[in-house]
């Protein structure tokens, strides 16, 4: 039976992993935020992968920690990387303002039950990517600032 | 007053090359590369393939390949390069821009040559050469750049043919006071700068059967350098010199 497609609630949040090379930095490599390229679809992708923050239990800090743990367990996370957090409604609003009617859909995976996808994102729209980086994903969490749990690697 | 006359010399690459009479075996090359590694942390292996074709039609043709291994050693920022080749047997030291001046450049050669001699011992030198590749970048204020305003080396063609889009000049001359041969290549090249037209002046001055002892070898290289400067200054005009920002006395 096909799983029901679930759009994430507008009041919820998603987290995106951003490697060092796609962080916005100043001339001395101080991190300032995100580059638009942090939200670009790769050639083999049809959606932008994010974690659904409210999937996890606990207060906000606990949710963030749990989400980061999943990233660390399922992909190579660089020491100087970061995570962007955006509100679902804000992401959709920013996309709409740039002519894109996206859906943010819950799509759990075996190794990541919080996995979700931002779908119908235009490929390579430079203005939209900049808006996502500057306006939609408003919060930045440094990977180095999130403590490692025992056994979380 | 700095030792070089220009704040922004147009040198893109400076080279001192030594060619030897006898091939260098791979064990010797490895020894030199190992000895000099602290000075050139990056080591790349250069490979070439040589095919031998049988000319006797009665024998079955079986091309053979012989792999030749050399070393390209470099500094992390790639401005210091040392090439060691077994065939033709040679040691070639290169400095990319920014050019640090003759004292530093020649000092590095003396240092590397000393390491070479300690590792390899004496091998007869068949040629010593000094090569400077200069690129002159001329801002295009007008659509046409008249090379003769900046250079004294250019082809002369009838006016009816109009401005040249491209050219290449290659000459060989004998410099009698140092008994060396000058090979000069000059051409229009694609400019790396927007709104500029660029010309290369590539000067190679070399001597076959040079001195074999270090004192005379160093003296020759220094005299080649003086000749090279004379040649370069003869190839450019004052308008070109202004581009390199001469140090004011």
């Amino acid at each position: 039976m096909q799983a029901k497609i679930t759009n994430l609630p507008d009041e919820d949040h998603v987290m995106r992993y951003v490697p060092w090379g796609r962080l916005r930095k100043d001339e001395d490599d101080n991190v300032l935020g995100f580059l638009g390229d942090a939200f670009i679809l790769k050639p083999n992708e049809d959606h932008l992968s994010v974690n659904w923050l409210e999937y996890f239990d606990g207060d906000r800090d606990a949710k963030i920690q749990a989400s980061v743990k999943v990233f660390r367990n399922t992909m190579g996370v660089g020491g100087k990387s970061a995570f962007g957090i955006g509100n679902v409604a804000k992401i959709k609003e920013v996309c709409r303002a740039n002519g894109a009617n996206v859906r943010i859909v819950y799509e759990p995976r075996d190794d990541n039950k919080s996995h979700s996808g931002i779908r119908r994102l235009p490929r390579d729209d430079f203005m939209l990517l900049e808006a996502l980086a500057a306006d939609a994903f408003a919060e930045l969490i440094h990977n180095a600032a999130v403590p490692f749990e025992e056994g979380s690697g | 007053m700095p030792e070089q006359p220009y704040k922004r010399p147009p040198i893109t690459e400076a080279v001192i090359g030594i060619r030897f009479a006898d091939p260098i075996d791979s064990a010797t090359l490895d020894k030199v590369a190992s000895a000099i590694k602290p000075l050139y942390p990056r080591e790349d292996i250069l490979k070439g393939v040589q095919f031998q074709m049988r000319l006797d039609a009665t024998l079955p043709t079986a091309p053979q390949s012989i792999e030749q291994i050399g070393y390209r050693l470099s500094s992390p920022d790639q401005t210091h390069i040392l090439i060691l080749m077994p065939t033709p047997p040679s040691l070639t030291m290169s400095q990319l821009a920014p050019y640090p001046g003759w004292d530093q450049f020649f000092g590095r050669f003396c240092r590397d040559w000393s390491v070479w001699k300690k590792s390899v011992g004496y091998i007869k030198i068949t040629r010593v050469g000094v090569r400077y590749i200069n690129r002159i970048d001329i801002p295009m204020v007008d659509p046409i750049v008249y090379e003769e305003e900046f250079l004294n080396v250019y082809p002369h063609i009838p006016e009816v043919l109009g401005p040249m889009m491209q050219y290449s000049v290659q000459t060989q001359s004998y410099i009698s006071d140092i008994e060396c041969v000058l090979t000069l290549n000059s051409s229009v090249v694609p400019s790396p700068l927007i709104g500029h037209r660029s010309f290369v002046i590539d000067l190679d001055i070399g001597k076959d059967s040079p001195p074999q002892n270090d004192t005379d070898l160093y003296d020759l290289i220094n005299r080649i350098r003086v000749a090279k400067n004379r040649v370069f200054e003869a190839c450019i005009t004052n308008r070109a010199r202004e581009l390199f920002e001469p140090w004011l006395e």
């Binding site: - | 147009p10 250069l46 920014p98 790396p192």
Partner: protein, 212 residues
Amino acid sequence: MAGVVVHPQMPTVLGPTVLPGVEAFGVEANEIARLIAKLRNEPSPASLRSTPRLAPNEQPLETRLFDALAAVKILTAQVAMHLDGEWRRKLFAQLDSLHDPEEWESGDEPVSQSSFATFLKAILSIRPERRPGLGLSHSGNLIAAWTTRRDRLTIEFLPNDRVRWVLGRYHDTEEEPARYAGHTHVSELVEGLSPHHPEHWFSDASKNHEPS
């Protein structure tokens, strides 16, 4: 022009030149070609590179990253006479940082020479007092970012002398920035940015941002 040799104009201090005489084509033309080839200088040491035995995706990561960095550092040397020494050193440090194997994203391409050549042309044309922060796209295009308070200018350097840029400026008490974008040949970058007062980002006086 076929069959005509132009005698070059040479300074007399260089002495007499020795050139082959030209009579006709065929055997003589081949001889000319051989003699001309003999005059041509050998490839310079900087242009000699090792030929990788493995395809790029088979090479160890550190080798791929180093080779890419070496190539763009050699490109930089070609214009080093036009760059401030300190500027160049810090640029190299930023490039090294971008290509740190510990931070490398699997599947990414290191900086492409073509993109970097576009970057150098742009930087030498703009001549910003402030160095940009650097990033790298998935496909190896270099990205330069200048940030002044909340205002952002981002330029991506594409192969073959193309650039695309986007900027956002907040005016007075506005909550949303005014955004503009362009996609041009690198020679048109300065003209494209000029209506937006790029000195707001490029001048040293504009250095005022808050690290996150």
